[in-house]
Symmetry: C2
Subunit: 221 residues, 2 copies
Amino acid sequence: MIAPDDLVCLKAIALLGGLSSAVSVSSQSLAQELSISPQTASRRLISLENTHMISRTMRGDGQYVTVTQTGEENLRVEYAAYRRIFETHDRHYILEGELISGLGEGRYYVSVEGYASQFSDKLGITPYPGTFNVKLSPSAIETRRKLDAMEWIEIEGFTDHDRTFGGARALKCSINGYTCAILIPGRTHYPEDIVELISAEHLRDVLGTEDGSAVIIEVTR
Amino acid sequence: MIAPDDLVCLKAIALLGGLSSAVSVSSQSLAQELSISPQTASRRLISLENTHMISRTMRGDGQYVTVTQTGEENLRVEYAAYRRIFETHDRHYILEGELISGLGEGRYYVSVEGYASQFSDKLGITPYPGTFNVKLSPSAIETRRKLDAMEWIEIEGFTDHDRTFGGARALKCSINGYTCAILIPGRTHYPEDIVELISAEHLRDVLGTEDGSAVIIEVTR
């Protein structure tokens, strides 16, 4: 395996075009590029040459460096790792937590026609009248934050009999294979360790869970 | 900028799934994965936490680690660099060298109908009767080797009047905008610093070159 410090240097040469031609590289220019000392840059170049990652030649106007086949293979291994990290098409977020009781207002809101029709149209969920509330474990909170970057479905606010109902955003997910959706009201500052879900099922019943039961929420992008 | 050693560690956590959920990571498991000591692994985790690249939590069954948004951004910067390195669609290889005289046999072979018709059909080049020979500069030899991985066009061998003509492979390229092709006979062990080219033009004339003139060959994938 290539040393991490050498890899940074090899990558810099590749970015200069060293994969497809000999590029002019001096210890000074490399040092500046990588914010290291020229001495360190020089050592890195020697190390890369000794491990057959680059070949170096001197011309009248200075040193020229080409990334060798071995060097390119090492860079490709890195590239493949990053592709595995970022190009997993079905990226699966896993949020762990435990079931808690809501305040009971979920039951009311979910039943309001202006919301229910949107849940049905936009999420394909004719919701059970009630919400399923999960307190996330501390290790899941960081993952929960990342969900903000996903495409949430907007549930619009509306007025009914002079009463104003605020908007919300929803994200489909599943618990033990049951389709559900995380619902976040737009109006309030929502606690980041609580997730409120709706589902066509009475999840508490079908999952056989009670307060304190472990729950795993899966979100697939 | 993230320290190279920390990056290796962060990448390993991302490969375990740390981007999308909290993953079980111990100093021991990480040490084994990265072939470093558990003490070093532990230091790396602390460093990554201090720089807000990961968040760590303890559960009953051990330590769980999630890559934070900041950590993910750092990995994305790396990924983007590797994409720039490898996904440049028109990858341009540049080979520098100087014009030399051939042995004169190029003129004969290029004129043989069995070859000439293939150059015309497969390369779109009705060749000037003669080859253009370039001695590569030392810094170009490494680049020349990489061309072997490209898709060469096969020029088939044949028999004419009881004489056997060997096969060859050809790769289209250009010199100063003039289309030409590198030709490598299949039969012999060819010197790696010599490139023999054919072109519809009398390159020596149109380029105004003579023996010793600098020549730049461009190959685009």
